[in-house]
């Protein structure tokens, strides 16, 4: 057998093509690994059905159709029309949520570093290939970016637009008119794709900068807050900050290829900026486990204290604490900036301190998912501990790390809105939601929340179980808009939903009833949260440690 002579490493395009195809398969198999194939296939079907229903209901959202007319004068009808969501509001909501999702999913530079450092463990991924194979980082990371875009196009955007098409079809079949047109679908798809490409590219670029140096790690969150303030002050309008939104509003289609190329260019730049650093530095570390363990005396002397100490050391040493706190604080800082700059009295929805509190709990899902991505727990299989103990330890770490931030946020918000009367109930609502949502996440998803997001059955239960109490608390909070006067009423909310007006009634009794409702729901959530924690044993007691 003749031995190979000297060969050149593969070119950029060869590396890119080979990786793009295989990474797509890898992504698919990773998802199948957690959820059954049937569940993953159900995800786009469910999404298509949901967008179909929303498409059919578009006229009700835009106020162009009333289910029950509740206004009896021309002025009141006009006021209601003012408060209905406009077509542009809906586009804004669609693109903001997609953009935020893309930002959250695009930090490949961090993912790549983790994969490189863990390749000698139980799991190894294609992104870690350049450490071993004759590959440059840029084509591999660019392929990863393109794979993410393609994967989400197939799994999310495509089915969503297909659902819109179904909505138009069903609407015409039943004689219900929808403002969405067949000709718009391709435009919507292109604009959503553009928003997603931009979000993923920006997040990837930012994570690459962050990974390069300590200065970069400071620069990125500061830039994120600065960008939020610039947009909030309208120096750069929202529609220009998210290019897909701009195209959808202006119908300037020449922008699509330019913006897509710009996003691709930004991703390529990010791919070139990811540090080529496969060196494993063996350096002595100061003792951390024992000092942390000592400080956790309030947890007693059992394995829980030991597990919590280990988790704290993990998030600190992995550098995840900084990233996690950043991801938790940036949206809160943005909300504070918004509260500082905006006049909430002008808003059609009477936001107040109690409106924010439930959402603080909702961030718990993200944080819990981060906690599970830090390291593999497989080594615990040989020790006398059980998965529910580790899940509880992670929940304790979540509360230790975030509660003080949430409390500071609510105190600052109470100060800015001058709603000190609502602080204590807001703290109760925040705590109840946090306990409930984190316990629910742990119960449903165990040690694998990051993989559960594409498991339809798990996510369907999760969304139903979180959205219902969240919306109830959110709507009830509008009755508490003016804390000093208690001017709103439960009936107002019940009859008009998000059109509830904080200044039309003066029934203190109703506002108090709503307040009792908020507290009752919060207590209910606390009880359910405790029940979920107790159920961890039954659900995960016999499971192996793997994520």
């Amino acid at each position: 057998m003749a031995l190979a002579g000297v060969v050149e490493p593969p070119t950029f395009s060869v590396s890119f093509r080979a990786h793009f195809r295989m990474m797509f398969r890898e992504e698919w198999r990773q998802n199948v690994d957690f959820a059954r194939k049937r569940h993953i296939m159900m995800f786009p079907i469910m999404l298509a059905l949901v967008t179909m229903v929303i498409t059919i209901g578009l006229r009700f959202l835009t106020g162009e159709a009333d289910i029950v007319p509740v206004q009896d004068s021309a002025e009141a009808a006009a006021a209601q029309a003012d408060k209905a969501l406009s077509w542009d509001d809906l586009k804004l909501g669609l693109h903001i949520s997609l953009f935020m999702f893309s930002l959250g999913m695009g930090s490949f530079a961090f993912i790549g570093r983790n994969m490189v450092s863990q390749r000698a463990g139980g799991k190894s991924y294609l992104l870690a290939g350049p450490a071993l194979l004759p590959l440059e980082l840029p084509p591999v990371y660019l392929a990863y970016y393109c794979k993410e875009v393609a994967f989400y196009l197939c799994l999310i955007l495509g089915p969503a637009v297909f659902g819109m098409g179904l909505g138009i079809l069903v609407s015409s079949f039943f004689g219900i008119s929808t403002p969405l047109l067949w000709g718009s679908l391709l435009v919507v798809l292109a604009c959503m794709l553009l928003t997603m490409m931009q979000g993923l590219a920006m997040s990837f670029f930012a994570s690459a900068i962050w990974s390069r140096s300590r200065i970069g790690a400071w620069l990125v969150p500061l830039s994120a807050v600065a960008a939020g303030v610039i947009v909030a002050l309208d120096i750069v309008p929202f529609e220009w900050a998210i290019l897909g939104l701009q195209v959808q509003l202006s119908h300037d289609f020449t922008l699509i290829p330019i913006a897509m190329l710009a996003s691709l260019g930004l991703a390529a730049l990010g791919a070139h900026l990811v540090p080529t650093d496969f060196e494993v530095r063996v350096t002595a570390r100061d003792e951390l486990f024992e000092p942390v363990h000592r400080r956790l005396g309030f947890l007693g002397n059992g394995p829980m204290r030991t597990l919590v100490a280990k988790e704290v050391v993990d998030v600190w040493r992995s550098g995840t604490m900084f990233k996690m706190l950043g991801s938790y604080c940036v949206p809160l800082l943005f909300l504070l900036a918004l509260a500082w700059m905006a006049d909430f009295a002008r808003f059609p929805i009477p936001f107040n301190l109690l409106s924010y509190a439930p959402f603080l709990g909702f961030f718990g899902f993200n944080f819990y998912a981060w906690l599970n991505a830090v390291d593999s727990p497989d080594f615990l299989n040989g020790l006398p501990v059980r998965v529910p103990q580790l899940l509880r330890a992670k929940i304790i770490v979540y509360f230790l790390m975030t509660t003080w931030i949430s409390v500071i946020f609510l105190v600052l918000m109470a100060s800015m809105l001058d709603q000190w009367a609502g602080l204590v109930p807001a703290l109760i609502v925040m705590t109840a939601n946090s306990v409930y949502i984190v316990a629910l996440t742990a119960l449903l998803m165990g040690l694998r929340p990051n993989k559960a997001i594409f498991d339809t059955s798990t996510m369907a239960i999760f969304w139903a179980a979180t959205v219902v109490p969240l919306v109830a608390l959110f709507l009830l909070s509008f009755t508490q808009g003016d804390m000093s006067l208690y001017q709103s009423g439960f009936t107002q909310v019940a009859s008009e939903g998000i059109d509830a007006n904080a200044t039309t009634t003066n029934r203190i009794g109703d506002a108090e009833a709503s307040f009792s409702g908020i507290i009752a729901i919060s207590v209910g959530l606390l009880v359910l949260g405790a029940a979920f924690l107790a159920m961890l044993e039954r659900r995960w007691g016999r499971s192996a440690f793997e994520n």
Partner: protein, 254 residues
């Protein structure tokens, strides 16, 4: 060796969907034995150890380890045995010393510092005590895992390919340690595909392939020819096993 049975598997089997990882088997390991399970890659050795240590639930049958029903109380089993898994590493972000400290606390041991120092020193990784486990070499991580399984001086050890990443010096040193463990009344359940280990150390062996136990007994009992060494026995049995599986498949198709 005594007649006390520390490991008793009865009709113990495991399926993953349609795939049979381990066909129902009966095995008894007595106190003072070094029982070796040998087989090629993918034979079912690790599955067997995971079933006996409560890391996997059996699809069929059951097992008792140190008198405890594994399926009913896996935590009690784990609390009283030492386990070295084949492929798992210590946690990435703890140092070697911190991980041993962690294990001591989970196992509620006293005199932690002395124990940690002793085992780091014994395995020659004292100079790596403050290095993160993720930064250690495979062999060093293996040493940390071995130390974590030995630190509470368990009566029964389950070792899955314990020598595979060790250099020859530490392979020999560990073999000596395991023999000392047996001499002190300890018991070892060892999975490996390194036949030399079996020949030198094991009191009894079982050869498994594709989830079947092909043969079990002392080396003398397994020999067909007095001149046969374990490698000959292994190849004879595993070669026959390939034929057995092919015959079974033909029968199933018929």
């Amino acid at each position: 060796m005594t007649e006390e049975a520390l490991v008793e598997a009865r009709d113990l089997g495991k399926r993953f969907g349609d795939f049979v990882a381990l066909h129902p088997l009966d095995v008894t390991v007595h106190a003072g034995e070094l029982f070796g399970v040998f087989g090629p890659n993918g034979a079912g050795k690790s599955t067997f150890i995971k079933l006996l240590t409560g890391q996997l639930a059996p699809s069929l049958g059951g097992a008792r380890v140190l008198g405890t029903d594994v399926a009913k109380n896996p935590q009690k089993v784990k609390a009283n045995v030492g386990i070295v898994p084949e492929s798992e590493s210590p946690p990435s972000y703890l140092t070697a010393a911190e991980y041993l400290d962690f294990v001591c606390r989970i196992r509620d041991l006293d005199d932690i510092e002395a124990k940690v120092d002793h085992w780091l020193d014994w395995f020659g990784i004292e100079d790596k005590r403050d290095a993160l486990c993720k930064d250690l070499s495979k062999g060093q991580r293996q040493k940390v895992m071995l130390a974590s399984a030995l630190i509470h001086k368990p009566r029964l050890l389950f070792l899955d390919e314990p020598f595979v990443n060790l250099d020859p010096i530490y392979q020999r040193k560990c073999r000596g340690l395991l023999m000392e463990h047996i001499a002190n009344g300890g018991t070892i359940f060892l999975c490996s595909h390194i036949l030399e280990v079996a020949e030198r150390m094991c009191t009894r062996v079982a050869v498994i392939d594709q989830g079947h136990v092909l043969a079990a007994g002392t080396l003398d009992e397994l020999r067909e020819d007095p001149g046969e060494d374990l490698e000959d026995i292994f190849i004879r049995l595993v070669g026959a096993s390939v034929n057995l599986v092919e015959e079974t498949q033909v029968e199933e198709e018929e």
